[in-house]
């Protein structure tokens, strides 16, 4: 006898129309909530001290920030909405809006993402794995520290997503070869994977090419304070080397402390990976030694690095990054198809729109108004100047960067913190550096930094793991950065 199929719920019979509508509304709920909040803000009068244009920019910024965090619609759509908002809400000429989108930092983000994909495609990671284990030996903690050092140093120059993507299979291979026990493998995985993600995140502050956030802050500092005819403002045109001098020591101090925290937090029973290391050597050994293609890739990257260090102050970091990507394409080391599918172009557009909105925040006085509100909150606690202000900016940036990507956090916060610096007569360069550096303290969430997202994609980590170790890391990083801003930066004239 033919049995009936299970019945569908009332309202979902025969067709799934109502269910589809419900699912659509559920998926897009944050979009509609954002629209409602924006409508309420637009309909209410602008607060005292902010112009109607500034208020509209703030409405757009609140909306964009909510959409960055909750992602109910594709991110490129957020970027396009920002562009449309500038034209229709602020009444800016479309050609001017288009012009404000493309800056050196955007070229840099585009070029460095292409370089990242090109470098991952060279498959140098297997040789890197061999190099690490040949230096560290088979002790588990020494390998973890070795992974941190290599990840950190590489990420400080070539960007954290590149290194995380290259090092992830190295760590996973070692885990797979080390044990079949899922619990032991996970314990080991926590140590290795966090060694990669936190080292990459911390290293991203080391040089301007370490991450998009640094390039964005350099652009803001130059846009807001640099004048070609005023030598007193020349320090706001931060060169590659300047940045390294300010930030690299902060990263180097954090690296061993990070390892100690991980070692203390994630203990593992497997203290020797001798057999796994031997198997890895066999596997990688089958690949043969470096060939001409590999040497060419290394050479091209070194040329790009020399360009960044030596010539970026004249031609721009973005130009050098694009040049590097073009060299990889021209030499045939990477195909355009790989770059096209590996780079999320929507994110490039998003950064461009966010920076453009940041400039509008400054021009309309919206950033100064928000900075004033922020200072009014801090003043009763005595945190509106000196080290207190630095700590407050650091905590604010850390909070924001844990809810969205660190590049977006700097793009949104940059104009506000620089206005705070002007309002309190604090050195904008120091406040800008504090913001850029503390945007790396996204230790609490999976989405905080690209490196964390990439290692999380292994499926071995749980969101809770980030919280367990994150507060220790944040405490250590806060202390190191505050000490650097109090003791080290004044020594070098920052």
């Amino acid at each position: 006898m033919k049995r009936p199929r299970f019945q569908l719920a009332t309202g979902c019979k025969d067709v799934y129309t109502s269910c589809i509508v419900i699912h659509y509304l559920r998926e897009k709920r944050w979009f509609f909530i954002t629209l409602a909040i924006q409508a309420a803000m637009l309909l209410s009068p602008a607060p005292d001290g902010v112009s109607p244009e500034g208020w509209r920019v703030l409405v757009m910024t609140v909306g964009a920030t909510m959409l960055f965090i909750t992602e109910p619609i594709p991110l490129p759509a957020v970027a396009l909405l920002i562009i449309l908002g500038q034209i229709f809400l602020l009444g800016i000429d479309s050609s001017l809006v288009a012009k404000s989108l493309m800056k050196d930092s955007v070229l840099f983000i585009m070029g460095s993402l292409m370089l990242a994909v090109a470098l991952v495609k060279q498959k140098l990671d297997k040789r890197l794995a061999l190099l690490i284990v040949s230096i560290t030996g088979s002790n588990t903690y020494r390998i973890a520290f070795g992974i941190s050092i290599f990840s950190g140093i590489l990420a400080s120059f070539i960007g954290e997503h590149t290194v995380a993507a290259m090092m992830l299979p190295v760590a996973l291979s070692l885990l797979q070869l080390a044990t079949d026990d899922p619990a032991k493998r996970r314990a080991l995985g926590l140590l290795f994977l966090f060694s990669i993600s936190y080292a990459c995140a911390m290293a991203g502050i080391g040089t301007p090419s370490g991450g998009a956030r640094n390039a964005i802050m350099i652009d803001y500092l130059r846009d807001f304070f640099y004048a070609t005819d005023d030598p007193a403002t020349f320090s706001y045109s931060v060169t590659y080397l300047d940045w390294m001098i300010y930030a690299y020591p902060v990263f180097l101090v954090q690296l061993p402390l990070m390892h100690l925290i991980l070692r203390h937090t994630f203990k593992t029973d497997i203290t020797d990976l001798g057999p796994a290391v031997e198997k890895l050597k066999e596997q990688v050994g089958d690949e043969g030694s470096l060939n001409g293609r590999h040497y060419m890739a290394i050479l091209l990257f070194l040329i790009t690095l020399i360009g960044w260090v030596g010539f970026s102050s004249e031609v721009g970091m973005g130009t050098i990054a694009i040049l590097g990507a073009v060299l990889f394409l021209v030499t045939g080391l990477v195909r355009w198809q790989d770059l096209n599918s590996g780079v999320n172009w929507g994110v490039v557009l998003l950064y461009a729109a966010a920076i453009s909105l940041g400039v509008q925040m400054r021009d309309t006085g919206a950033a100064a108004w928000v900075a004033g509100v922020f200072m009014d909150i801090l003043a009763p606690f005595g945190m509106d100047h000196g080290i207190g202000l630095m700590a407050a900016v650091m905590v604010l940036t850390t909070f924001i960067t844990n809810t969205m990507s660190n590049g977006a956090a700097v793009a949104v916060l940059g104009p506000i913190v620089l206005s705070i610096a002007v309002g309190t007569e604090t050195n904008p360069l120091a406040v800008g550096m504090i913001t850029a550096v503390s945007s790396a303290f996204a230790y609490f969430t999976v989405i905080g930094t690209p490196a964390s997202t990439i290692v999380y994609s292994s499926g071995l980590l749980r969101p809770k793991d980030f919280m367990v170790v994150g507060w220790r890391m944040a405490l250590m990083s806060f202390t190191v950065l505050l000490l650097a801003s109090k003791l080290y930066w004044p020594l070098i004239g920052l």
Partner: protein
């Protein structure tokens, strides 16, 4: 894929938790009685875009595949497959390749591997990426015309302040949004019978054929219970139990026992239902956003064993 008219199609969401794996035994029991099609699904949230800093995670995934490593999710699905081999649903020597699927355009994210079980039903392992796991699971159930979704719940229900602060568990989200029956699985062992909870309402009566079909498929002992909130509701509760028992008997299943209780419906069902493999309840008539406050969804949230919400 062709599907027999009588064959139940079960979608099991494999999220890595032990309860989704233990529910395989229950699915196998249904399969042994009625030759079910079983789909095992692992959904990973999309992780590209701003979160990955603009470099697609697929670059990292392709690198992992190049190293001969498995993509996340495949490991969980393979653990489920190994359990099905132990349970005799998949022949030990059968090997199948992963086939790429293009559902959301993620070239290194979506795969399927298909087997046949001894009675001719299909077993498929499905890997999928999606921005929202709940919607993807329901979409997968609809695409494959599943009759039941089984999703593992957290073994210990979240209570108190943590319940307010924590996001709603995935199993309860799927139960609230799915248009087809959902089993919120906790230690889902097939041997201890079904407790069918009924009321004197049209909604409750309309779910009885599904409960009967489920009992037939499982060949499990059935108890029928109705809970009256106070003494005045006993008559109505008794009527509901009698009607349900008569319908079960008419369809060839003699209920093991019938119970009429007085008290708080949620507490009573959770307490008495603990002795059963599965508590069956009808879907609430409330809209999706208010279902958390209905008896059926509160039982699903707070019970220490498995609950099936019939739609």
């Amino acid at each position: 894929m062709t599907q027999g008219d009588n064959r139940i199609r079960i979608l099991i969401c494999i999220g890595g938790g032990p309860d989704s794996l233990s529910s395989l035994k229950y699915a196998t029991r249904l399969s042994n009685q009625g030759c079910a099609d079983i789909d095992l699904l692992y959904v990973r949230p999309l992780d590209s875009g701003l979160k990955s800093g603009g470099m697609e995670i697929r670059v990292a995934r392709e690198n992992m595949l190049d190293w001969g490593l498995e993509l996340p999710g495949m490991t969980h699905l393979k653990a489920a497959r190994d359990l099905l081999i132990e349970l005799g649903e998949i022949a030990p020597d059968s090997t199948r390749d992963w086939h790429h699927r293009e559902l959301s355009g993620d070239v290194a994210g979506e795969y399927v591997r298909e087997y046949e079980n001894p009675c001719g039903g299909s077993i498929s392992l499905r890997l999928r990426t999606a921005p929202d796991v709940t919607t993807a699971a329901i979409d997968e159930a609809q695409q494959n015309k599943a009759d039941i979704i089984i999703v593992g719940a957290s073994p210990e229900p979240v209570e108190g302040l943590r319940k307010l602060l924590s996001p709603k568990p995935l199993a309860l989200k799927i139960a609230a949004h799915s248009p087809i029956p959902v089993i919120v699985a906790r230690q889902l062992e097939p041997g201890r019978g079904h407790l069918v909870c009924v009321q004197d309402t049209d909604r409750s009566r309309s779910m009885l054929p599904e409960a009967i079909r489920c009992a037939h498929a499982c060949q499990c002992p059935v108890s029928i219970m109705s809970v009256a909130p106070d003494e005045s509701g006993i008559k109505s509760a008794q009527k509901a139990v009698n009607e349900a028992a008569a319908l079960f008997k008419k369809n060839g299943i003699a209920p093991h026992e019938t119970l009429v209780e007085v008290g708080d419906p949620v507490e009573t069902i959770i307490t008495i239902g603990y002795d059963f493999s599965l508590i069956l309840l009808s879907e609430s008539e409330k809209p999706w956003f208010a279902k958390g406050f209905s008896v059926s969804h509160e039982v699903a949230a707070r019970a220490r064993n498995s609950v099936m919400i019939l739609k």
